[in-house]
Symmetry: D3
Subunit: 285 residues, 6 copies
Amino acid sequence: MLAPLPRLLIEPAVHRALEEDLGLAGDITASAVIPADHRSTVMMVARKPGVIAGLDAADCAFNLVDPDIRLTRHVEDGQRVTPGTTVATVIGASRALLTGERAALNFLGHLSGIATVTRGIVDAVSGTGASIVCTRKTTPGLRALEKYAVKAGGGGNHRFSLADAVLIKDNHIAIAGDIATTIRRAKANAGHMVKIEVEVDTLDQLKAAMAEGVDAVLLDNMSPETLHRAVEIVDGRAITEASGGITPETADAIAKAGVDLISIGWLTHSAPVLDIGLDYKNAEN
Amino acid sequence: MLAPLPRLLIEPAVHRALEEDLGLAGDITASAVIPADHRSTVMMVARKPGVIAGLDAADCAFNLVDPDIRLTRHVEDGQRVTPGTTVATVIGASRALLTGERAALNFLGHLSGIATVTRGIVDAVSGTGASIVCTRKTTPGLRALEKYAVKAGGGGNHRFSLADAVLIKDNHIAIAGDIATTIRRAKANAGHMVKIEVEVDTLDQLKAAMAEGVDAVLLDNMSPETLHRAVEIVDGRAITEASGGITPETADAIAKAGVDLISIGWLTHSAPVLDIGLDYKNAEN
Amino acid sequence: MLAPLPRLLIEPAVHRALEEDLGLAGDITASAVIPADHRSTVMMVARKPGVIAGLDAADCAFNLVDPDIRLTRHVEDGQRVTPGTTVATVIGASRALLTGERAALNFLGHLSGIATVTRGIVDAVSGTGASIVCTRKTTPGLRALEKYAVKAGGGGNHRFSLADAVLIKDNHIAIAGDIATTIRRAKANAGHMVKIEVEVDTLDQLKAAMAEGVDAVLLDNMSPETLHRAVEIVDGRAITEASGGITPETADAIAKAGVDLISIGWLTHSAPVLDIGLDYKNAEN
Amino acid sequence: MLAPLPRLLIEPAVHRALEEDLGLAGDITASAVIPADHRSTVMMVARKPGVIAGLDAADCAFNLVDPDIRLTRHVEDGQRVTPGTTVATVIGASRALLTGERAALNFLGHLSGIATVTRGIVDAVSGTGASIVCTRKTTPGLRALEKYAVKAGGGGNHRFSLADAVLIKDNHIAIAGDIATTIRRAKANAGHMVKIEVEVDTLDQLKAAMAEGVDAVLLDNMSPETLHRAVEIVDGRAITEASGGITPETADAIAKAGVDLISIGWLTHSAPVLDIGLDYKNAEN
Amino acid sequence: MLAPLPRLLIEPAVHRALEEDLGLAGDITASAVIPADHRSTVMMVARKPGVIAGLDAADCAFNLVDPDIRLTRHVEDGQRVTPGTTVATVIGASRALLTGERAALNFLGHLSGIATVTRGIVDAVSGTGASIVCTRKTTPGLRALEKYAVKAGGGGNHRFSLADAVLIKDNHIAIAGDIATTIRRAKANAGHMVKIEVEVDTLDQLKAAMAEGVDAVLLDNMSPETLHRAVEIVDGRAITEASGGITPETADAIAKAGVDLISIGWLTHSAPVLDIGLDYKNAEN
Amino acid sequence: MLAPLPRLLIEPAVHRALEEDLGLAGDITASAVIPADHRSTVMMVARKPGVIAGLDAADCAFNLVDPDIRLTRHVEDGQRVTPGTTVATVIGASRALLTGERAALNFLGHLSGIATVTRGIVDAVSGTGASIVCTRKTTPGLRALEKYAVKAGGGGNHRFSLADAVLIKDNHIAIAGDIATTIRRAKANAGHMVKIEVEVDTLDQLKAAMAEGVDAVLLDNMSPETLHRAVEIVDGRAITEASGGITPETADAIAKAGVDLISIGWLTHSAPVLDIGLDYKNAEN
């Protein structure tokens, strides 16, 4: 069940993308060479296999250029495509279609890229019970959209912002003094609807954290064997999250160690785009 | 000679990134566990080899959180780093340092990632005379910064927007009718300071374009052999640009075909981040 | 330990307040009657007893009118004042001081009003172990500041937004069908760092909720006796929150029923301002 | 005759309220537990007696969440309600209705609260010829809406901003030197369409002001007897405005002293919300 | 006594001007040809005689490009210059000076142009007792600045917006039915601090307006003789304003008819710029 | 072929104009005197001869005040009008029509003024082969609209921003040292799609520039005779542009010297408005 993002969270980003692309003169190529009254049907077509995300943003891009453009989806966000799959048909004034093309495709390709790599790693751990989640390592300005794309790929979301939940990391502990003190301060100051997670590098740190009691533990850069032992120590008293340098190749072994979650920054910060193009089909009357 | 971006083009993007990360409650972890008057020295350290870009954005992120933070660069944008290189030292209130960390690193990692892949491909064609340039396939909201990062990696910039230059593509020709008509319309309508480029798929199209006269030709998806022939046809009368599916492996052969430019979308749309972390060094007095 | 709000969360609201107050002509009274080079010392003085909150916003208001104004605090946010207490001294150009006065006082009075009523109710339940928290019934545009003011008054914060935590209310249950189904859907879809709370009107509903397991229960409009029974039923397995029509008179009895939290909308939506004025002290040279 | 505010003056405030409430993840409760295609009829129902204001803002809130929601009014702004009065019926997608509920009610409750207290004091002076007006002591960011709510309650508006009219207060006089000098400067510098009012604390000051000639006098903190004498002194040559600590209990005596206007800050800065709730009625097909 | 505009009313317009001029690539000429560390002294020099206005905006333009630039004024807003007068000296990084030049000069030239034509007409009516005022026929986005420039030229300001004062025009009367009804409605609905003016085309209309009583009358397109008669009819009971097609040539005769004000749209909508250039003086060390 | 500006480039400027004109209280005259349900037909009528530009902005102004207003054009942008020509008919709520009138006319008059003076000078050089182009001397905030208006008047556009093209001016050369060095730096650093123009004051400078090779030369303040000689020197190897103090009287002689372009700042910075009024026609039912 993938809930769409409210348009309020999509439109400002799309507006900015179009402002970038229109400059002060607009699309001088389309204006120069395409007759004003020419109308077309074009298709957004996948060139590579993947998972689609971002159709609302693509639709919004065309719509902000020209509210009379109509986009019809043949695939929904979260669905797989193969090379040649027509993702959507778009009909409207030819100039406006070509003007909106790049902004629409930049969103669709970027977000589908995230959904695609997420789906790959989700499938790699399928059956283990571990969930794949993203981090705050997102592209500046696109966090809401990228977190949504991860969900479209079958993943889950960790914190959306520093305001969401307490996550105590190594630098916090280094400054605050020791893990127990840090956790106690967090409990004393955090609100009642806020969960507290602590990052640990060793099993000793883990034991210290569990002695204080936390909602979740981030097990940083541990081998599958150490993770297995960590899961035993936690013994269901907290959510267990593995993190740090996990790849599609190592994910399955990590997952089989029994952790609840695997968090991966590259889902959002390093996913290559999914190649989707816009093909002209025919003129409209 | 890498000219810095004006702060007017950096600050709005950094502001948005911080708004995303602060929510309405701010950094509830740092507020809860770090004493208000604690000050630290931290270091931004490269974890992988690469080329740095985005120090102004990183500095701006810390500065918007707390104008009293001081960032000292040990490396400038455009310079290479190896794992362990300290990119910058940052001194200030510990809470503010940790609050600004993720926004600063998200910019620095993303832009350095682009500079790094650009540098890789620029080096791959070194000595051939071909320049590597990026496209309009940028991440929405970050075009100015990403174009700058490409320059930091030794590349050049193609169009910044639809308003910059005329680039006639296949869809324009399909709608306008034929290549000669399309070019003539462009010449009749484009301003005198605007260059005109046309995308061609075949040598016949190229000949048709050259018969009309254009400033540049985009040679789409051609083999090195065909590109070589295309360069001969153009014979210095236009800038020649190769595009389409070029990889680090194929770039050298493409470049040796004699083209002036190689344009590559994945410099900006698919570069993985350069891994840069923030290490706590010591408390300040 | 009251952590200040980042200026990024304060300045936009203050900017808007000044835009409202300056129109297109600015302060036509001060411009007409005060010499441009006249400088003054003025004092912000409490006229009524209360608790101060909002000094950063007041400082920001003066600062946005004229960056050379200097505000010195004699009281910090969260501290009590009595009639006549000088909260802060402000020195600068007389015109700018009078131009910024109303915006500064509107923030300071509004937020101190919230801190004051919060402190009153927090004191009323002192010793019971119950915390007083605010809700999402905040004044549009001021949520971050009002939530901060509640903390300045000794209270805590419930959800900051719909995105923070799951809170299942009567309308959700009415639409979803029954309480167990609703809780199961929430668990299946909510992220791992998100707490789940459910609002119940009766002890039967409470038992149904506890049977599914939730992080917190909102006990709506229950008498102290029923609340006492509810706390027994929950028996430490969830956070208990009383809500609905609680007044300073009834709060103590509610708190003594043993609930963890008492949430009160009128802390933010109906607190009268704390009367604070600006007194001219003398001219500066 | 209550003229509606232009939507341009309403929508930005509503947009900000929704941004506050949606965070980056949107309404995670509704998304998790309400089926995407479920549609409902809900009713906004008054829980207390009062006067309604803010229906355009409430409508705008639902509309920005989902343009397909339809709100039908059963009461217009400015009309009285009793507990149980259905103010409006709202029909649309259930998720969107619940997502927009709080923002809509926060506006409607806040503005109706202002209209209600205004109506109360307007009724208290009914028949005396005195008008009740609000001040610039408004909630930051909501001045246009709050001034409108005062009119919905039967009151009038004093200055909207520092740019509207000249109002000489005690601090201006203290700095400028004396009341006559201050008034003369104001007359020399203010535009021809701008009225000039002066605040006086004593009858001597009043006489000095009238000797210069002003459009209006603000009679600050005077007893009914003194006000009566002040009205005699003014003798129709200026508008007379009483201000300072006026309550519903004292308003009638103040009004009977013959002043034209009574200005009251707490209409806008301290009015409690009018309690209005949203009740689920039934599912739509 | 010319009061400066608050920076809050200047900076957004200057920011927009720079955004227009920097695009996404910034000043590619200065970046390409000027060494990064080169510093200069440049001078803003009048090429034509006129009156200066807009130095704050010009200063803000340089300051937003580079906060280290220092602008020293040799002339203040409102003062006359002759060809060759150095208006200001500006010192800073050469690139930044050249990047900010056009935005700075566009403001300074435009606003000085308005001040210059205003001064011309003010001088033309000197000694008559009539004031020259501008209208709402301003350049979109620049009203506050243009109204300020009129004051710098010795003129005054009519309404700043539709919200300032009531001005009943021919179309209002045509719709409302007749002049008396229209004025009565205005009096019944306008606030007590709001002046009411009515536009009349004939002496009969004027008599009808005066019979109702208004604060000001706008005498539209009347000859000096008719204006003289109108002033007699009004006989000091209202402000008299002449408007409609008044030129420097006709202004003196109009003014001598005894009107209080002459309002002129072309002060703001059609004033040519005052030619001011930027001259390079020398390099700085 | 005049391509319309995208609404994204029009609406923000129109929004700002309406914000300026509505203040916080809106149109207090229309609200006070026009019945809420009165509807009218009004006409926008030219009072002077000229060329129309800006109908999209005018339409947008009415539309932002009230989306139900309908504007029907009788003339298109770029067409000539004579005194009395009805440019458009506008039908809708009378209050909204009068509220939007001034913003709509301020855009239409300003942009038509630019189109009109442009058309005048374009006609003056008709038959010579020279094009008339505008500069970056535009009114702050309106560059995109003003550049469009120049095209509506038959002119062309020079650079839209500093980011568009390299234009080396006297100050660049003074700082960089000499013309050849400056051009070489520009060529080394500018992108391949960017044209390079250099401003020259003398024929010697021109020869130096042509020796390096540039795309265009700006011939500054030269007599027709010198321009003629310059055109001979260039001999088709670059675009020739005359600039500096050109008036309608001198333009023809300049054009006949054989230059390709004549650039004129006053098209945008000093064009008087075209007088267009709004006439009430009748009430609608």
